[in-house]
């Protein structure tokens, strides 16, 4: 049994995921964590007498070895590490929704303080690709930025949605680190510097990422899933009803391979084998876990696993020794194995008995009423499933439809569909009332996103009066573009927006792709190239045209730029196209974007104006206060009262001004996100090198504020005409 080697109880709360260990003086590891009221505390148990004298840091009134750092803003991310290798000690990085602070704790000075308009939701420190100096990389609203120790912006790119987690990992095994980005659109993207080399779609927001070793990394989702990827392949995953607050790789059983340590919202910490996900160790805290870290906190040369709970409890564990043979829990392995084997045996015996009883029941034919009650059904009962598109009617919107039916008079009592990402929870249940039971069921499905989904069906089949049912389990795949119905072309409604590209593929292959990705009626017969197909979106009725010319030129007409991107990405992976240059035009979308860009400028200027006003007001406050106090000293109570009244009014104005500033800022953020998303979307219309070229070129265009170039890049893919 592995026991903690130390336990601390700090009287400060720790904000989840915002805790880090650093050697801020070069030798002593200290724990830094964000706590309530926009403060960061630093726990330094090693040098007790050290006092900070500056205004920013002050001694915690609650504890002697904790000092507090005032950020005056809600902290959104925090990390520590060597930002400047020449310095020889670690810097503390604190991100908020508007700023990034790199702080030198030892000298009590700022290394840099940068305004980041996109906010900092996550931060990671380390070297990225070929960039020589260590970077503090922050992920904000759709944007990624990397700063060196002087605060120089050495890395900037955009990603699909708001970033929630970051990690550095040698993904392709070239000895250089790649950046893993988990974002709100459920994607894990891998950036080799600013080039996306891989994209994995998950089922929920990715809340944490951590490198394990080699190309292996762990991830956690907001729905309670944790798992391990090796490159683009998922090794294993488990789902819990609790949420994983923090994950970390640590070799707890001293076998030379890191385990995935997870801290959960219910206070549980568990260590899972990186290969199988099997739990090899667990412990419980009284409150949710805020962070899992490692460090030599006792300074005895051994690295401990350090788990921090939200209520300030900190426990450190040393890796298991060789004598423990990896057996970290108090039960003996043999006992567990015996129990498991016996359970297996019992299950097999039960199954055997089931078959025996089945043969017995078979002998006692014919079919009778009582059989139905006990759930005996004809052995040749089969279940048919069919996916189709239903165009809906007045009471029900258009949807994709799953039809399940039995092959005889048995009824379907209920259908459970387990699928990720398309229902509110992880499952959808259809349970008709006792009067509406029949041998077939139609289930409407409306996936919110265009992703291929595996539907795991469990169908309860029996008779009306049964108390036991057979469970038929099967899996159907819902194609990516199931929410598009094949319709007859109507030239008048053909969308003006289009993408145009050339894929050297035979028309039959394109038809194959169509069949796999759309729900086409069975009698659809597509002639040879050139041909065109027309779909209508079931979500908003928008039209989608796909035209193929003899030359292999493909034109996709749709007003939905995301859909166009999805189609191009889907085709590219189906035909294994590595690089694809695309000509695109989305007049409506581009016009909107133009407006957004104008707005961004406006908000920026308003922001500056408001800041200036605030500075003026603060001068006024100072003078009012001085004058009021003067009046008090002069015993001129009436003037003093007036001054204070003015001050009060001014305070009210300031509060109002703050609200306006807040709103302005929110709008600005929204618009910036829209701009970032636009760049991302323009990128998604291309594949491989052209994709990165577009993103880089767009970024440069925005920097140089050249809007016309920006749109040209989005259209043709390059800046030069």
């Amino acid at each position: 049994m592995l026991l903690p080697v130390f336990t601390l109880k700090l009287r400060h709360k720790i904000s989840p995921r915002m805790v880090a260990i650093g050697r801020y003086d070069g030798t002593h590891p200290c724990l830094a964590a964000a706590t309530q009221a926009g403060k960061v505390f630093i726990h330094n148990p090693h040098t007790r007498s050290q006092h900070f004298s500056a205004s920013r840091v002050f001694q915690s009134p609650l504890e002697s070895d904790v000092s507090l750092l005032n950020i005056n803003q809600a902290v959104s991310c925090l990390t520590a590490g060597a930002l400047n290798p020449e310095l020889g000690y670690d810097a503390l990085l604190v991100g908020t929704q508007t700023n990034l602070l790199a702080y030198d704790v030892y000298n009590n000075s700022d290394l840099f303080y940068r305004e980041v308009a996109d906010g900092a939701n996550a931060v990671v420190l380390g070297t990225l690709g070929d960039i020589s100096s260590p970077l503090a990389i922050i992920g904000g609203n759709c944007a990624l930025q990397g700063f060196d120790h002087e605060g120089n912006d050495l890395f900037w790119t955009v990603t699909g949605d708001n970033v929630h987690s970051l990690a550095l990992c040698d993904f392709d095994g070239d000895g250089k680190k790649e950046l893993l980005v988990g974002s709100e659109d459920f994607d894990i993207r891998v950036f080799k510097e600013d080039e996306i080399v891989a994209e994995m779609t998950e089922t929920e927001i990715i809340t944490s990422l951590c490198p394990m070793y080699g190309s292996r990394f762990g991830y956690a989702l907001s729905n309670g899933t944790v798992g391990v990827y090796d490159k683009t392949a998922r090794y294993w995953r488990i789902k819990s009803k609790n949420h994983a607050m923090s994950i970390h790789a640590f070799d707890l059983n001293s076998d030379g391979v890191c385990e995935l340590i997870t801290g959960w919202s219910n206070g549980k910490v568990d260590a899972r084998s990186d290969r199988t996900g099997e739990v090899i160790f667990k412990d419980n805290f009284s409150s949710a876990i805020a962070g899992v870290l490692e460090g030599d906190y006792r300074m005895d040369g051994h690295t401990q696993l350090i788990c921090c709970a939200v209520d300030g409890e900190i426990r450190g564990y040393l890796p298991g020794t060789a004598e423990m043979r990896g057996n970290l829990m108090d039960t003996s392995v043999e006992q567990d194995l015996i129990r498991e084997l016996s359970q297996k045996k019992q299950n097999l015996l039960l199954e055997l008995r089931n078959y025996e009883e089945n043969t017995k029941a078979e002998l006692s034919s014919p079919q009778s009423e009582a059989d139905g009650l006990r759930g005996i059904i004809p052995a040749n009962t089969k279940l048919h499933t069919a996916l189709s598109v239903n165009l809906g009617h007045e009471t029900q919107a258009a949807h994709a439809e799953l039809c399940i039916s039995t092959s005889n008079d048995t009824i379907i009592r209920a259908v459970l569909i387990f699928a990720e990402g398309i229902f509110l929870g992880e499952s959808h249940v259809v349970h008709p009332s006792i009067h509406n039971l029949s041998s077939s069921i139609r289930i409407p499905i409306t996936p919110p996103k265009d992703v291929p989904v595996d539907l795991h069906l469990k169908t309860f089949v029996g008779y009306r009066s049964s108390t036991q049912f057979h469970v038929f389990e099967l899996t159907r795949q819902l194609p990516r573009f199931s929410m598009y119905a094949l319709t007859s072309p109507d030239p008048a409604r053909e969308p003006l927006s289009y993408v145009n590209f050339v894929i050297a593929e035979r028309a039959q292959r394109v038809v194959l792709w169509l069949n796999q990705n759309f729900l086409l009626p069975e009698d659809t017969n597509i002639q040879n190239a050139p041909f065109q197909v027309c779909f209508t979106s079931l979500r908003n009725g928008g039209q989608l045209y796909i035209k193929i010319k003899l030359s292999g030129e493909i034109t996709v007409n749709t007003d939905d730029i995301d859909l166009a991107g999805d189609i191009i990405q889907s085709m590219a992976s189906f035909f294994a196209v590595e690089d694809l240059q695309v000509e695109a035009d989305f007049p409506v979308y581009f016009e909107e974007l133009r407006k957004v860009l104008v707005k961004v400028d406006e908000y920026h200027s308003v922001h500056q104006k408001l800041s200036a006003e605030m500075a003026d007001n603060s001068n006024l406050i100072r003078s009012l206060l001085v004058r009021a106090e003067d009046a008090r000293l002069m015993r001129n109570m009436k003037t003093m009262k007036n001054r204070y009244m003015e001050l009060y009014d001014l305070n009210k104005d300031l509060l109002n001004g703050y609200k306006i500033r807040c709103n302005n800022h929110m709008e600005l953020l929204g618009n910036l996100k829209a701009v970032n998303q636009a760049i991302q979307r323009a990128g998604r219309l291309r594949v491989g090198k052209p994709k990165n070229q577009v993103i880089t070129a767009c970024r440069d265009a925005i920097r140089s504020n050249n809007i016309n170039t920006l749109f040209r890049i989005m259209r043709v893919g390059t800046a030069s005409s």
């Binding site: 006992q335 019992q346 199954e351 078979e362 009592r413 049912f469 469970v471």
Partner: protein, 715 residues
């Protein structure tokens, strides 16, 4: 002294019922004992442990499900004859496995509980109690509610035969011959009875009882009256008690109390100088503990607690240390034993696997033919659906002999499904199309591997009634599921009680008409929980109930042609009126319903609610302040500047938060009940006040008792 017990699994048999495992007395002192156990397949198995291997002494052929297993014999000799109750038959075996008795009792119901003392045999089926002496019928009693357990005070120590029945309606019935000597109420539905220290204690009249809501107690059954000695409340919200035994496991010369619960908890209580029980040890097993006994079976010289679980595991919690300090050689030997066991299990598994694959193929082939049928394998589901008095919610416990894959919960009434910390299953709520399919709740629980037991908490609303269904799918091939139904009754939050306060102002609802006693009884069963389904003997019946949430009461007295319901809560009467008239219309029975409303009762009920509401409001307010106060504390470093009230909140912060978490939505429920009360009060007057409800809620938001009462009066 710390009690340290190590778990050792011995053997697995089929699913077991409560009290079906016993240890045979050892022939010499300090040698290992044999275990005898009966399961649902009807197999009685007797085995001993030799070098860590279970060696069977005898094993009978399968038969009817074994409900009880007891040891007996001539009084004052070792009790080593084995008696089992299966169906309506009693069978006896010697310790070598020879059957010497087969006694068909001719009871119409199957036997549920059994006690043996010399040549006296005490049996009970669901409602019937029978006493046989030398297999001859002696006495008979028909109980008003289900009998859970039966015991007789030791006849060798007392001059009389005093059987005691543990009945579901929260009473112990003490019999004399065929008559009830007296009844005594216990704090919950008693599920198990045992003699104190195995012999009835100093007086020979002391009985332990355990209840289905997890309480324990000691009671002395004298000839004239019961004396309650102590009770242990179930503060930690553990499971119901299924079995108890006395054994000196601590080794201090005083027998300890061993307890097995239905959530898998095994506990040891020892007794202090004042003879009060003190918890010394507890360990969680993953499934219901059906039998428990102290003894020695694994290794000579080491005492242990032997338990059997629902899925048939016989497990020892032994004082034998896992790793002995006698040297490396010894440990190696233990490992060797284990390795042998594992390898033999593995080869057995391989063989089975092969057989299963063959059978599976056969089964697949049969699905090709058009005549063949496919039967669903039946598996047993151990379920319990009970009302918790403490937080007025229901808990549903499902247990299956193999791991559960998923459970679908469906309800045709609006209910809330609450999270239970113990559960590791992933719950997912599905959207319901309520109008066409009568679904108000559809939720799936996807269980983690090796989960055999699932606990759910359900909050119902009085007046809304219907059925809750659970579809349980275990992880076994061929995949099947079983459906279980549970009724949510109209007055679902009421609980049977035996005494009520007659001084309260009461509202009365009277039913008259052409209906039989059985009919009116069925209506009461329909409306209220904890009423026996069988119409009780006699012509007139009175039941008392208590609302577990508001503590209001209900008295129901009925006979052929008349039923009278009295309650101090108008809402209760209103619900009864609605439900009964609806039921009568459905069955086309002409029913005269008259009611008498007591205006004072509304004020009385509001006064009953007042302290609860005030407490909850204060608690909510305090909890709201905690975070802000804590922040101030961090900022200022101390709390000296705060007023005492706030300082007090800070000190009690953890406790307050815990209290608040324990009763989610308590305030909303109270508001709901006050609103119902308001509507019901005026419904009886014939006015609809639904439009005034927002006004009422406004008053509740700034709660003041007098203002509320005034509003009720004025409206």
């Amino acid at each position: 002294m710390d009690l340290n017990l190590n778990r050792a699994d011995y053997l697995q048999v089929g699913v077991t019922s409560q009290k079906t495992m016993k240890l045979l007395p050892a022939s010499r002192h300090r040698t290992t004992q044999k275990v005898v156990i009966g399961d649902h397949d009807g197999v009685v198995m007797c085995f001993g442990m030799k070098k860590g291997e279970a060696v069977a002494v005898f094993k009978t052929l399968p038969g009817q499900k074994i409900a009880r297993l007891e040891l007996g014999g001539v009084l004052n000799t070792p009790q080593e004859k084995i008696f089992i109750a299966a169906g309506s038959e009693i069978r006896g075996f010697t310790k070598r496995g020879k059957q010497f008795l087969s006694f068909e009792t001719n009871l119409t119901e199957s036997i549920k509980a059994m006690h043996i003392s010399g040549s006296d045999l005490f049996l009970s089926a669901s409602y019937i109690y029978n006493h046989y002496c030398d297999c001859k019928d002696q006495h008979y009693y028909l109980s008003g509610d289900k009998i859970n357990d039966v015991i007789c005070l030791p006849v060798e120590r007392l001059p009389r035969i005093t059987p005691v029945l543990a009945c579901q309606d929260r009473v112990l019935r003490v019999l004399q011959g065929s008559d009830v000597m007296y009844e005594t109420e216990v704090p919950g539905p008693p599920t198990v009875l045992a003699l104190h220290n195995g012999n009835g204690g100093d007086s020979g009249e002391d009985l332990w009882f355990g209840t289905s809501d997890g309480k324990l107690g000691l009671i002395q059954i004298t000839t004239s009256k019961p004396i309650h000695k102590w009770e242990i409340q179930n503060e930690k919200k553990r499971g119901g008690i299924l079995c108890v035994d006395s054994f000196d496991i601590v080794g201090d010369g005083v027998k300890d109390l061993l307890v097995g619960r239905d959530d898998g908890m095994v506990e040891v209580y020892s007794f202090d100088n004042a003879n009060e029980p003190v918890l010394r040890f507890d360990q969680m097993l993953s499934e219901s503990v059906t039998s428990i006994q102290g003894g020695c079976i694994g290794k000579d010289g080491y005492d242990e607690i032997v338990v059997s679980t629902y899925s048939g595991w016989v497990t020892g919690l032994t004082t034998e240390p896992v790793h002995k300090e006698s040297g490396p050689g010894e440990e190696l030997k233990i490992n060797q034993e284990m390795q042998n066991k594992i390898s033999s299990l593995r080869s057995e598994l391989e063989h089975l696997q092969y057989k299963v694959v063959q059978e599976r193929e056969k089964y697949q082939q049969s699905s090709q033919s058009s005549k063949a049928k496919s039967a669903v394998p039946s598996f047993s589901v151990n379920d319990k659906f009970t009302l918790n008095k403490d937080d007025a919610s229901y808990s549903l416990i499902l247990e299956v002999q193999t791991a559960i894959d998923n459970v679908l919960i469906q309800s045709d009434v609006p209910i809330d499904l609450l999270d239970v910390d113990k559960n590791s299953a992933v719950v997912s709520f599905s959207s319901c199309d309520s109008e066409s399919n009568d679904n108000f709740l559809l939720a799936t629980y996807r269980c983690q591997a090796n989960t055999t037991r699932l606990e759910l908490k359900i909050r119902s609303i009085e007046g809304q009634y219907g059925t809750l269904q659970a579809y349980v799918t275990p992880r076994i091939q061929p995949k099947t599921c079983q459906v279980r139904q549970y009724l949510i009754k109209p007055l679902s939050l009421h609980q049977r009680t035996h005494f009520i306060d007659h001084d309260r102002p009461m509202n009365t609802l009277t039913l008259t008409g052409q209906f039989s006693f059985a009919e009116v009884h069925s209506w009461v069963v329909f409306c209220l929980p904890e009423v026996p389904e069988k119409p009780p003997a006699g012509e007139c019946m009175t039941f008392y109930f208590q609302n577990t949430f508001l503590d209001t009461q209900l008295e129901s007295t009925y006979r052929k042609g008349e039923g009278v319901f009295k309650s101090d809560n108008i809402s209760t009467i209103s619900i009864l009126k609605d439900v009964l008239s609806k039921e009568a219309t459905k069955r086309k029975i002409n029913l005269n319903i008259s009611y008498e409303i007591n205006e004072v009762s509304v004020k009385h009920t509001l006064k009953l609610i007042h302290p609860k509401l005030e407490y909850q409001l204060l608690l909510a307010k305090k909890v709201q302040l905690i975070d802000a106060l804590k922040e101030l504390q961090v900022h200022e470093g101390n709390t000296n500047f705060l007023i005492p009230e706030y300082r007090c909140i800070l000190e009690e912060a953890d406790h307050l938060q815990e209290e608040y978490k324990k009763q989610p939505a308590h305030l909303e429920r109270l508001y709901g009940m006050i609103t119902d009360l308001f509507i019901d009060k005026f419904k009886f007057k014939g006015t609809n006040v639904k439009t005034k409800v927002p006004l009422l809620l406004e008053i509740l938001d700034s709660y003041d008792q007098n203002a509320l009462i005034a509003f009720f009066d004025a409206a």
